[in-house]
């Protein structure tokens, strides 16, 4: 606790003295990896250091194995106590499918092969290397962990929804209603509570956490584990050349969603 107070004072001092140019703020505005063409501002360099967890999704495998995506979603939502309100207005989702043309809206075209059109693609938080939501959050309720996971502290979220406006992937959901409540027929919004994980309260934003609670005990994310027999999803450290994601990324043609935005997603897709 002592250390936290020191952090706080340091930050408060920085903010007071240097204003918007305070070192913390400025450094965060410079973060992010280089473009594919290797472009970056002269004088800046960012070493590939530490861990950066990443995921690869093979959309063809999901197409071959119908129902696999739904199973991944079900296991994700049930272990994380994600409520189902039964309407799109209040909807909360961590992992879900979108049509190919919506998922890759700025990176595809109308004359794409018919097999891709309307194909459901698994989507989730991209755990960006340069996340706009973390920049926007006024309380650091959303933050980037040193392993690259963009995580949330639901205790601290004030529910301003600035992160929802900031996210270019629609990955964030808000608890418009009490997720522990019941509908008009008395059915709970969360069918069966998983006692190993908390739920969320009313008025906070939530999203996929890359199963950080499972990673901490040496397990893979639940969706990856579900898809593991089909080699449809891969997970690992992007900065480790021997990891499975690094191997798959070396061998396959992959894309990320909206690369032009400079968010540097950590979720890659094999088309």
């Amino acid at each position: 606790m002592k250390k936290d107070r020191r952090d706080f004072l340091k930050l408060a001092g920085c903010a007071a003295v240097a204003g918007v140019g305070s070192s913390t703020a400025f450094r965060s505005l410079l973060s992010g990896e280089a473009e594919a063409a290797g472009l970056k501002r002269a004088g800046t360099s960012k070493a590939m250091e530490g861990t950066r967890l990443a995921m690869v999704i093979d959309i063809k495998k999901f197409h071959q194995h119908r129902g696999l995506a739904e199973r991944c979603i079900r296991v994700c939502h049930s272990i994380h106590n994600v409520p189902d309100f039964g309407n799109p207005k209040d909807e909360i989702k961590w992992l879900w499918t979108e049509n190919f043309e919506n998922t890759f809206i700025k990176d595809t075209h109308r004359h794409q092969t018919q097999s891709l059109h309307g194909m459901p693609v698994l989507t989730l938080c991209n755990h960006c290397d340069n996340p706009p939501c973390v920049r926007a959050c006024p309380t650091k309720a959303t933050f980037k962990k040193d392993d690259g996971v963009v995580a949330m502290d639901y205790h601290r979220c004030i529910g301003c929804r600035f992160c929802m406006a900031a996210c270019p992937y629609g990955a964030r959901s808000f608890n418009w209603r009490d997720p522990r409540g019941t509908d008009e027929h008395g059915n709970p919004f969360i069918d069966e509570l998983n006692p190993e994980y908390p739920a969320r309260g009313i008025g906070v934003v939530e999203k996929c956490n890359f199963c950080t609670e499972r990673l901490a005990v040496g397990q893979l994310p639940a969706c990856v584990e579900e898809a593991t027999d089909y080699e449809a999803m891969f997970f690992g450290d992007l900065n480790d050349p021997d990891s499975e994601v690094s191997r798959v990324l070396r061998e396959e043609f992959t894309i990320v969603r909206r690369a032009s935005l400079g968010t540097y997603p950590s979720v890659f897709y094999i088309i």
């Binding site: 799109p88 309380t139 979220c157 270019p168 968010t263």
Partner: protein, 389 residues
């Protein structure tokens, strides 16, 4: 001084009672929202900000607009505004308080609002917005009250007030710039991602703020012995006209960039707001009548306000200022925020309609603002008339 607000005509008390009634109804709706959650509003996963945040954005402009009365008087020694600068400062106080109320109304966890102070985050524009809004509120409270109080005592205001006034002038620019930066720095929202957003916010603010002030000043003139003065009114018209024209010029610049470049994501939201957006045979155009009306009303308002000035007609002046205000309110208090969410980052369209509760709470916040303005103006006018008569 505040005791001046406790003596008024029957009309004054009726007005206060009406405002309190609206506030009470809105308060009841807020209790409902508190218990049920923000799901009681029309907001959704796709349109995650609604009229609360759009009113907030518009009212930051009204608050900053007070600058247009303070600046000429203190920086250019424009004596004709001497009688009305206090009105500008007091309007800013009410507008900022409304802004803060709208933000609180919009929070999912209002009890945690102070987390913004507990965990200060300089990289978040919302943190800076909190800083500049509260700072502006304090500056206007201190300056406005100190100046009026010295007038009440019949002396010149203290020397320490002057630097604070100069600070408040630059500060007014900052509040609306930072508010624009909330929107203009988000990579996935193409309608907001434009460098001209802050200048456009300021232009519309410098028209809307003085326009509202002119309307209120004309109402005061009709009902009290207080006189704004013909020269001051004419000057206000000049300010409003220039600012409104610059606003429309900026809007035209936005249209040019989008439609000449044919850059799709720059066009979609403008299509949705002004012409209607089509997808899979469905047409989404629930804001089109308002946005088109906004442009027409604005242009009529500008032409009419110049005509009204040449005719020296107060009625026409009030009506045309009202038209300009309405036009800018639709543009920024409705289309700017709501439009930015259509289409969503995945190219899907969700239309937003505010709920009754949401409208009631919004009306209550506006009524609170009018209540504050009424009380502050009652005090200011009483003090001024006492000294002059």
């Amino acid at each position: 001084m505040i005791e001046k607000a406790l003596h008024g005509s029957k009309g004054y008390w009726t007005w206060i009672a009406c405002l309190l009634a609206v506030i009470a109804i809105g308060g009841a709706f807020y209790v409902q929202q508190w218990n049920y959650g923000l799901g009681i509003t029309g907001m959704s996963r796709d349109v995650s900000w609604g009229i609360y945040i759009s009113q907030f954005t518009f009212l930051v402009g009204v608050a900053a607009g007070g600058l247009m009365l303070v600046l000429p008087y203190y920086l250019h020694n424009y004596k004709e505004f001497g009688r009305i600068t206090i009105l500008g400062e007091f309007m800013a106080i009410a507008a900022v308080i409304m802004c803060l109320m709208f933000i609180i109304a919009d929070l999912g966890q209002p009890m945690r609002a102070l987390n913004v102070l507990l965990y200060p985050t300089p990289q978040s524009m919302l943190f800076w917005d909190m800083v500049v809004l509260n700072g502006y509120l304090a500056l206007n409270l201190i300056c406005g009250w100190a100046i009026l109080h010295s007038e009440y005592k019949g002396v010149k205001y203290a020397n320490w007030v002057k630097p604070l006034i100069y600070l408040s002038i630059t500060w007014a620019i900052s509040i609306h710039t930072v508010t624009a930066f909330l929107y203009a720095g988000l990579p996935g929202r193409d309608y907001w991602l434009t460098a001209i957003l802050a200048p456009r916010f300021l232009a519309s603010a410098f028209a809307a703020g003085p326009a509202l002030l002119l309307i209120i000043a004309l109402i005061i003139e009709r009902n009290t012995l207080f006189k704004v003065g013909q020269v001051a009114k004419d000057k206000l018209v000049t300010i409003i006209t220039y600012a409104a024209i610059i606003n429309f010029f900026f809007l035209a610049c936005e249209f040019f960039s989008a439609y000449y470049s044919q850059y799709p994501s720059k066009m979609y939201t403008k299509d949705y707001l002004f012409f209607g957006l089509m997808q899979d045979g469905n047409i989404f155009n629930n804001l089109v009548p308002y946005m088109q009306a906004s442009v027409v009303i604005g242009i009529i308002g500008i032409a009419m306000i110049l005509f009204a000035r040449s005719r020296k007609s107060d009625i026409l002046l009030g009506v045309s200022a009202g038209l300009i205000f309405l036009s800018l309110w639709i543009d920024k208090g409705l289309g700017m925020v709501l439009g930015g969410f259509v289409p969503n980052p995945l190219g899907q369209v969700t239309e937003y309609y505010p709920s009754i509760q949401e409208v009631g709470i919004t009306a209550a916040v506006w009524a609170t603002g009018f209540l504050i303005v009424t009380i502050l103006y009652k005090v200011a006018i009483s003090v001024k008339l006492e000294k002059e008569l």
